[in-house]
C-alpha cells in the first residue's frame, strides 16, 4: 500500500479550478470540499472527485450537519456523508460547533447557541453518533461570532476541550474566525489562542474577512472573499510556534474567487511557515 504524503497547506476546491487542481503538483498540497456539494447519485461531480483523489489528499468539510441543534443529526444526511467518505477516503473530515438545520428546515449559516451544560451533553452525543457511523474521529471548528449571547456556562475553548475529552473528536482551529470573533465581541484573540487546546488540533483554517458595509470596522464579517489579512497571518505564526509542530492548514476562499495562481501564492506562504515549523520540531 502506498504511503500517504503528509498534509501541508491545502486549498478549498472550487468548480472553476477542477482541471487545474488535478494537474497541480506542489509539496503538501491537498484539497478541501463541502460534502453537501457532492451529495448526489452520480455524474460529473463525483467523477471529478474520484479523479482528483488519485492525485491529492482530500478533506470533507461539512457545513450542515447541525451538530449544535437540540436534535440528532439527520440520519439520511449522515448516511450520505458516510457513503462519500467511503468513496473518496478523505484524509480529514470536519464540521462546525454550530447549528443550521432545525425542524426540517435548513438555514444556510452557522448559528450560535448558549454554551450551557445541556448543549455540551447534546453536542457531545451528536459528535459521538457521527464518529460511530464514520468509524473515525471528526474535527470540530470554532465558528465566527457576531452576537453577545447570554447564558453561556462555558468559554468556547473550555467547551471545545471538554468535547474532545468526552467524544475523542479532534479540533479545527479557524484563526480568521478567532480574529473576527474577538474583534466583534471585544475580547483578545491572543488570549483565546493561548487557551485553545492545541494538542487536539488536526487542521487550521485561514481566510479573509471584511468590514460590515453598514457598521464599518466595528463589525467584521467572516466573508471568505479576500486574501488572508496580515493580523491573521501573525496569529497563525503564533499558533504554530506554540504548537511546536506543523498542522495541516487550509486557505479558504468562497467568493470573489481569484485565479488559482493567486490562491496558490497564499497557500505557498502557509506551506513555507509549516516547513519552518516542521524543521523546528525536528530540531527540538
Amino acid at each position: 500500500m502506498a504511503t500517504t504524503p503528509p498534509l501541508g497547506a491545502g486549498l478549498g476546491l472550487k468548480p472553476q479550478h477542477y482541471e487545474d487542481a488535478f494537474a497541480l503538483q506542489a509539496g503538501g498540497l491537498w484539497w478541501e470540499l463541502h460534502p453537501e456539494n457532492y451529495g448526489v447519485g452520480g455524474g460529473p461531480r463525483l467523477a471529478w472527485l474520484e479523479a482528483l483523489r488519485t492525485r491529492h489528499p482530500l478533506s470533507l468539510h461539512g457545513v450542515s450537519l447541525s451538530l449544535a441543534a437540540d436534535a440528532p443529526p439527520d440520519a439520511a444526511q449522515l448516511e450520505r456523508l458516510a457513503q462519500l467518505a467511503r468513496r473518496v477516503e478523505p484524509a480529514l473530515i470536519s464540521e462546525h460547533l454550530a447549528w443550521s438545520a432545525w425542524r426540517g428546515q435548513y438555514l444556510p449559516d452557522l448559528l450560535p447557541f448558549p454554551r450551557n451544560h445541556a448543549a455540551l451533553a447534546r453536542i457531545g452525543a451528536n459528535i459521538a453518533r457521527v464518529q460511530d457511523r464514520l468509524g473515525r474521529a471528526i474535527a470540530i471548528e470554532n465558528p465566527a461570532h457576531y452576537l453577545h449571547l447570554a447564558g453561556h456556562d462555558w468559554g468556547e475553548t473550555d467547551f471545545l476541550a471538554e468535547l474532545v475529552r468526552r467524544s475523542g473528536c479532534a479540533l479545527l482551529l479557524d484563526v480568521n474566525n478567532v480574529y473576527v470573533s474577538a474583534h466583534n465581541l471585544g475580547t483578545r484573540a491572543e488570549d483565546y489562542l493561548d487557551a485553545f487546546p492545541l494538542h487536539a488540533v488536526a487542521e487550521i483554517h485561514l481566510a479573509g474577512h471584511h468590514a460590515d458595509p453598514q457598521w464599518g470596522d466595528t463589525l467584521l464579517i467572516d466573508s471568505h472573499d479576500a486574501p488572508v489579512a496580515e493580523p491573521v497571518w501573525a496569529l497563525y505564526e503564533r499558533v504554530l510556534a506554540r504548537a511546536g509542530r506543523a498542522i495541516p492548514t487550509l486557505i479558504e476562499r468562497d467568493a470573489e474567487v481569484p485565479p488559482l495562481a493567486e490562491l496558490m501564492a497564499e497557500r505557498d506562504r502557509a506551506q513555507g511557515l509549516l516547513a519552518a515549523a516542521q524543521s523546528q520540531e525536528a530540531a527540538s
Binding site: G39, G41, G43, L65, Y106, L107, P108, Y146, T218, L219
Partner: protein, 258 residues
C-alpha cells in the same frame, strides 16, 4: 434569561427565516429582542437570506436571464418565504420554483416561464442523477428482429424530458443556454426537449410529443413492442424507428435489469 436549547433554536430560527416561521410569538421574547437589537444580528439574517437567494440564482440561470436580475430576485425572495430549503444540499434547492412562477402575480401572465423553469430544474436533476450503463444502437442491432419487441429498456437515470403543448419553451431555453441570437424568428408552437448525460456533461435536443410518450411507456416498464403500440395509439403518425434511434443516440435509455 436565555431559554432551553430547543426554545432558543425555535426562537432564533423563526427570527432568521425569511418570512418567519408559523407560531412565532409576537412580540419576540426578551432574550431574542436583546439579540435582534445588536448590529451582528443582521449578519445572520443576511447570510441566511443570501444563501437561499444565491442557490436559486445558480439553479435557475435561464429564468434569471429571461426575467432580469431584479424581477428574478423578487420572485426568488417570495419563493423562499413559503418554501425555505429543507436540505443542506442547496444545489437541489428550488424544486417547486416553476409552479411558484405560475402563481406569483408579477410572473403569472408569462405562461411560457414555468416551462423554462422546469427545463432549468431538469438540467439539475440530470446533472446530479445516478450513473448507469447506456443502451446503445449497437446493443439493439445485435438482437434478432423478433427479439426487439420483447426488449425492456428503461429511461437512463439522467434522462429527463418535457413536452410543452403551447409554448416554444425549449427554443427559449436553449437560446439562452447556448448564447444563441435572441432575435431570430420564433414560431410560437408547442415543443419538447430531451436532456441526457451520455458522458460527463448534460446534453439536450428537441423531442416531439411521440418521443416523450415513448419514454413514458418505457418508464412504466413496458417492453419496446408494447411501448411502441401505446405510442402509436396516441400519436398515429409517429416514426418509431427514427424515435428509437434518436433516444439511443442521445443516451436516453438503459438496459433494464432482468
Amino acid at each position: 434569561m436565555t431559554p432551553h436549547l430547543t426554545a432558543f433554536q425555535d426562537g432564533l430560527a423563526a427570527a432568521l427565516r425569511p418570512g418567519g416561521m408559523p407560531g412565532t410569538p409576537v412580540p419576540p421574547p426578551q432574550w431574542l429582542a436583546a439579540l435582534a437589537a445588536q448590529p451582528g444580528f443582521a449578519v445572520y439574517r443576511n447570510t441566511v437570506a443570501q444563501g437561499c437567494l444565491d442557490a436559486l440564482r445558480a439553479n435557475y440561470p435561464t429564468v434569471r436571464q429571461l426575467l432580469g436580475a431584479d424581477c428574478f430576485d423578487g420572485a426568488a425572495r417570495a419563493f423562499v418565504r413559503h418554501s425555505p430549503p429543507t436540505d443542506g444540499r442547496l444545489l437541489l434547492y428550488g424544486a417547486g420554483f416553476a409552479a411558484h412562477l405560475a402563481h406569483w402575480a408579477p410572473t403569472a401572465a408569462l405562461h411560457y416561464l414555468p416551462g423554462v423553469a422546469r427545463l432549468d430544474r431538469l438540467w439539475t436533476e440530470s446533472h446530479c442523477a445516478a450513473d448507469a450503463a447506456l443502451a446503445t444502437p449497437a446493443l439493439l442491432a445485435a438482437l434478432p428482429p423478433e427479439a426487439l419487441g420483447q426488449q425492456c429498456l428503461r429511461p437512463h437515470p439522467a434522462a429527463r424530458w418535457l413536452w410543452c403543448a403551447r409554448h416554444p419553451v425549449y427554443t427559449l431555453w436553449r437560446r439562452h443556454r447556448e448564447a444563441l441570437p435572441l432575435d431570430a424568428p420564433l414560431p410560437w408552437q408547442g415543443e419538447g426537449a430531451l436532456l441526457t448525460r451520455p458522458e460527463s456533461a448534460v446534453c439536450w435536443c428537441a423531442l416531439d410529443a411521440a418521443g416523450c410518450t415513448l419514454l413514458e411507456q418505457c418508464a412504466h416498464g413496458l417492453p419496446l413492442g408494447e411501448a411502441a403500440t401505446a405510442t402509436l395509439h396516441t400519436h398515429p403518425g409517429a416514426e418509431l424507428g427514427a424515435l428509437l434511434a434518436l433516444l439511443l443516440r442521445a443516451g436516453a435509455l438503459t438496459p433494464a435489469i432482468a
